[in-house]
Amino acid sequence: MISMNNVSKWYGSFQVLTDCSTEVAKGEVVVVCGPSGSGKSTLIKCVNALEPFQKGSITVEGISVGDPKTNLPKLRSRIGMVFQNFELFPHMTVTENLTLGQVKVLGRSIGEATEKGLKLLERVGLLAHKDKYPGQLSGGQQQRVAIARALSMDPIAMLFDEPTSALDPEMINEVLDVMVELAKEGMTMMVVTHEMGFARKVAHRVIFMDAGRIVEDAKKEEFFGTPRSERAQQFLSKILHH
């Protein structure tokens, strides 16, 4: 469903991504990990063109992301994105956050959008907070609303950019639980995360990045069993034994 071919990206003369290629099939859960600054977030932001790239190609269901003729807002509306810092709209209530995209992008009626939004809110266990503002919720609650907001657009795939990195430790699980459930339902997901427990539980594949390159792209069992590259071995030993 998502296909990347030799994607390279530069910030000025600094190369952040070098020849990154991978495929994500429908229903597949791919975890992207690696040390900070390795280009993980940049890579998944290329998928919905939040970050432009200069070389290579990315297609989502056959639609080329880098093609200037592509209707990017339409493409983006079909790919859900969850950010590290939630990025709920603080001046809107939870319900308004959930309906904005549905109404303005998909053209649904307010009634239809609200019904859908509240159903999703119930699913992430936050129906009681529907009239609150994001600033009145905890980080974990905000991130669950953000996931519900992304789902409200009926996405064909979901991108997660370090969804638990900004959370207090006791709130991480409530967000991971929602993501695990989503994965089990067969949602196509690309997840940048350091949560190796999550990767072990639901990932099909793990992509390991270092210095802008995809160093390892392996089935979960292979990656956690016998990572081929030394860099990935080091990373795993550090992240698993702290």
Binding site: N48, P73, K74, F89, G101, Q136
Partner: protein, 252 residues
Amino acid sequence: MNYNWHWKVLLEMEPGGTGTYLHYLLVGLLWTLATALAAWVIALAIGAAVGTLRTTPLKWAVRLGNLYVEIFRNIPLIVQMFLWFFVMPELVPQGLGDWIKQMPPPWGSYVPAVLCLGIFTSVRVAEQVRAGIQSLPRGQRLAGIAMGLTEAQTYNYVILPQSFRIILPPLTSEFMNIIKNSSVALTIGLLELTGRARAMQEFSFRVFEAFTAATVIYLLTNLAVVLLMRAVEKKVRVPGLIAAAATPQAGH
């Protein structure tokens, strides 16, 4: 100070025969407000547009916006007032210029004064709007774009509603400035509050009474503006966002 106050002068007839001096000054206040409000509409409209354009990735728009701001920010208000009054009618096509010059008083002064104040203040509003937009986390724009909103929709629904809440306190100051700055219009013959206070002291030789009265009227007017804007701030305040909105305005 040894001065014989004569407050009753306010109740004496002014020589034009339109009523008492107090009435004369209050009509001046109406002209002050009419000038300030009309100029404020221009200032907000242009300021919001220019300030927003300067935050877009459009290079030509940013440059054009910068040029506009630098021109009107760096010329003294009184010079701009003279330029609008004396020079502008000569620069526009002759028919329009003649029409402007032949406008009966007070419109011949009022229109240039409104344009001048509006544009002078618009660059200050533009700076506030730009600062307000740039104080938002970058992720807000990305979140709007990522859900499929266009750039324009993202500004409309996500960025501007937050920015304007943040810059409401400095905008209040700008609105009060425009009321005070409208007094410069007396130099091109608009009989607003200050102009009328000056006229009153010329007719009655009661300089202290005239300007004390004008001072009190200005103070009360701006006090009303402050209270009004506080009510507006309270109305648009977002629960849980108070701290976030207050931070960029520290020291204001």
